[in-house]
Symmetry: C2
Subunit: 195 residues, 2 copies
């Protein structure tokens, strides 16, 4: 998950850890924030795997002359994506496996949807819908045989959750319909799909 997020962002520009985390926050819109305790180990993991490389930063002062010229900039490790990294990114983007429908994972995937091929988008959306529908059915059946041992509060929480899954299914249906429409009638797109 972090793998996709990091690779996805580094594909756009090389950055250092701290900055990467901030951009991740912007990109996911606070929908999800990763801790440094996840980020730095992940960075090392990806480096070991050869998917990214780190340059010890030596940006000269005049590169970014923000008001005062005095600068020396302490150690910053700037990460850059490699060719293998780009391959891996393509794989991850196109992947629509079961773990992809998790709340968190789905959110991350959505954030890079504009770079995701159309059929992968469909598979991810449909997979997510299936997962949410399953949860919905689980909640429904829990509610129907409720009253027995289940706490009143829990029952109400289930009702809230049920509403929320129903809404998400409707939302996904709209997305999927739109996606299908655009697939056979491509819009005046901003990101030119080759085709």
């Amino acid at each position: 998950m972090l793998e996709l997020a990091i690779l996805g962002l580094l594909h756009e520009a090389p950055v250092h850890g701290y900055e990467l985390r901030k951009r991740l926050g912007v990109r996911l819109g606070g929908f999800r924030v990763f801790s440094y305790g996840s980020l730095y180990p992940a960075l090392r993991r990806l480096t070991r795997a050869g998917l990214i490389v780190e340059d010890t930063d030596q940006s000269s002062p005049e590169t970014t002359p923000s008001s005062s010229g005095s600068w020396s900039r302490r150690s910053r490790r700037v990460y850059r994506i490699t060719a293998e990294g780009k391959e891996r990114l393509a794989e991850l983007l196109a992947d629509a496996g079961p773990q992809t429908w998790d709340d968190d994972s789905f959110g991350v995937h959505l954030a890079f949807f504009s770079r995701t091929p159309a059929e992968a988008r469909m598979r991810i959306l449909e997979g997510r819908r299936r997962a949410v529908e399953e949860r919905r059915e689980g909640l429904r059946s829990a509610l129907s045989r409720a009253g027995e041992q289940i706490d009143r509060y829990t029952r109400e929480l289930h009702q809230l959750g049920l509403d929320s899954t129903e809404r998400e299914v409707r939302w996904l249906n709209e997305l999927i319909t739109r996606e299908r429409a655009e697939q056979q009638d491509p819009p005046g797109d901003e990101a030119g799909t080759t085709r």
Copy 2:
């Protein structure tokens, strides 16, 4: 989290791991399922801490004569809560710390709300509300400064999330109001609070 769930269930009756997991599923109504990879280590943790003890099962056949009498029952470890465990449970129930407002943790707490003292209930509910409100504000501000770098899909996900947080806040408000009302006008309760 598992600590609370396990202690909470064992307080009602001693059971073995497998059964415990099933009951947990019923209790939380599929809202959340714990894996064995979590459960058994947790059981060992609690045992080491002296909060529970394990009896190697030797229930005689006639204790549970379900249709056929033939029985020998292979190794089952039955866990029982100790006095310290009960103390710890009381602590956990009354706790309303920050980690309590997490989705998962909140759900588990709710499942044992009938055993939770009234003021702790209020603190948990209000804390949860605060957390959801914060998330809501985060999403709102993300949406208001959207259009910039954020993907169209992510923006729509934010909108969905925003709706959902708004609904939950309303839901919590109702719960809190009701709670407050019952606090000064106790209902004809089913679970006789000593008082």
